[in-house]
Symmetry: C2
Subunit: 310 residues, 2 copies
């Protein structure tokens, strides 16, 4: 059996997977704050989940994921801002507390692994996980493994500057995240909460701010899907994150936008993008499931650019 | 020894690689036109190269690349427009003519494999090959293999619509290819040939069209590099194609643009993009070298989107 722990900005979830990959048990509680509390709370929740299946003795592999800059080879995380963690040796500290070897990864990358596992697609298929949360971020599973790139930056498509004049928190102007994210939506449609976040319904009723915000959100997500298919080689794009709680109406609006784009271009049309997107079912502990399937990579002895052979 | 044949729009090149991957011999001549002539000329040039190393008996693997829509599993190519080829069973016809089993791939993807081989970077490193030719196209080698995506579309970043009002041949408006490609350059700076294609020099001398064209080209290439690093996970970006004949001045202008962008964003700055780009040395038969390293994939029995496991 495998243990997976997802340390999120608000709550921590632990799952135990059986030998066939099925979820045997789940436990969830609020996350701690600060490095010591984050580990203590994750330990407590992991033990709750393991207690359901006979304790740590039956666990053969364990993994944990967390927001921030994660170095899987070193087992560390930096800048997990929402958790008030500046630096944490998560593999060492959580591993010692649980008495297990723990692999670690960034939360979005772990969720991509979990989505790939849940999708039932084999290793030959390339899957992108697109998180529509406060920000916009993705991760790609190729050949059964998550693509990391430079310092784990692969998938940070929210910081591709595609136009517009909004300055992004990253310092660039016109990042994709400034048109398609929870933050962008609230900037364009501050009344979201008053409308119970029914963006598509409000737009259909003629709320002018909602119309503009929906066009921006769906246009940005459609462009993100194009980026993931054309640049990352994704064959399926699975979306999750807070905004996907809007459910089927938002998914259909995104598909409509993709079909409008396809109608303008035989090239795009041939890719059938609208049929390649889906929302992950609500409530699935996808990042924890991915964490349960993590392994720790070898330390890479990397050189910089290409050194041409003579 | 391995044989590689690059059937280009104007010329066909054949190489034989030794057991250590070194180029033992090269032969080049104009490409044929039409399916029959394309194969006949490729056969002739391949035999010339093999004759230098004792004939086909010593060849243990062979591959060929060609522009157009290639299906490596079927061994076929469609829409190789410049070669006047609508459909060709290249693996079958060239294989029969040479008496060898021949694997086939698209030319840009083959060049990416060749560039990865030449770079000396191991399979653990992700390399992007960016072709600055008549159009703009890329391919990515990850885990030692080229990423194909939907019907081989992975890497077609020239058709990401990033802004501007120029209608692209693909039907979309504002594709990256409309700002950064040979076609785009000639549209913006029709006097290119009269200035011996010295874009950077002409811009430095104050040629106003050259100034604007250089800004568009370098901005578009810089954005392409960002896409390849942030979306595809590339750790190095190797450029080749006709425009790279402008050499060091163009490479330095691209690096300057990347440094300007890095200065605006600590996030981008941390990626050191200017240090990750290089031009492939002129005259290297990179696509033929990649072709020599091709293998034929299994036929994929693919499903459409993700089918969620219950």
């Amino acid at each position: 059996m495998r243990l997976g722990v997802d340390i999120g900005g608000t709550k921590t979830a632990a799952v135990v997977l059986g030998d066939d990959g099925e979820v045997l048990t789940t436990a969830t509680a609020p996350s701690g704050r600060g490095a010591v509390d984050v580990v203590a709370q994750a330990t407590r929740i992991a033990r709750l989940a393991m207690a359901e299946v006979g304790g740590p003795g039956a666990i053969t592999a364990a993994g944990a994921c967390i927001p921030g800059l994660v170095d899987p080879a070193a087992g560390t995380v930096r800048h997990a801002v929402n958790l008030e963690v500046e630096h944490l040796d998560l593999a060492r500290d959580l591993g010692a507390a649980l008495g297990l070897v723990v692999s670690v990864e960034n939360d979005v990358k772990s969720a991509a692994l979990g989505a790939h596992h849940l999708s039932g697609l084999g290793a030959a298929r390339t899957l992108a996980y697109l998180n529509l949360g406060t920000g916009l971020a993705a991760a790609v599973v190729h050949a059964g493994e998550v693509v990391r790139g430079v310092d784990g930056v692969a998938g940070e498509i929210g910081h591709l500057p595609f136009g517009g004049d909004v300055v992004c928190a990253c310092g660039q102007t016109g990042c994709l995240e400034t048109t398609a994210s929870g933050t962008a939506l609230l900037r364009m449609w501050p009344e979201a909460a008053a409308h119970d976040w029914d963006l598509v319904g409000a737009a259909a009723r003629g709320d002018s701010a909602a119309v503009l915000a929906a066009a921006s959100l769906c246009g940005g997500v459609a462009l993100a899907v194009q980026v993931l298919v054309l640049a990352s080689g994704a064959q399926s794009v699975v979306m999750s994150g807070g905004l996907t709680a809007m459910g089927e109406p938002l998914l259909e609006a995104i598909r409509a936008e993709l079909r409008i784009r396809a109608a303008s271009s035989p090239f795009l049309g041939s890719l059938a993008l609208a049929e390649r997107v889906s929302f992950l079912p609500a409530g699935v502990p996808v990042a924890a499931i991915g964490a349960a399937r993590l392994t720790t990579p070898e330390v890479e002895t990397a050189t910089g650019g290409a050194a041409w052979r003579s």
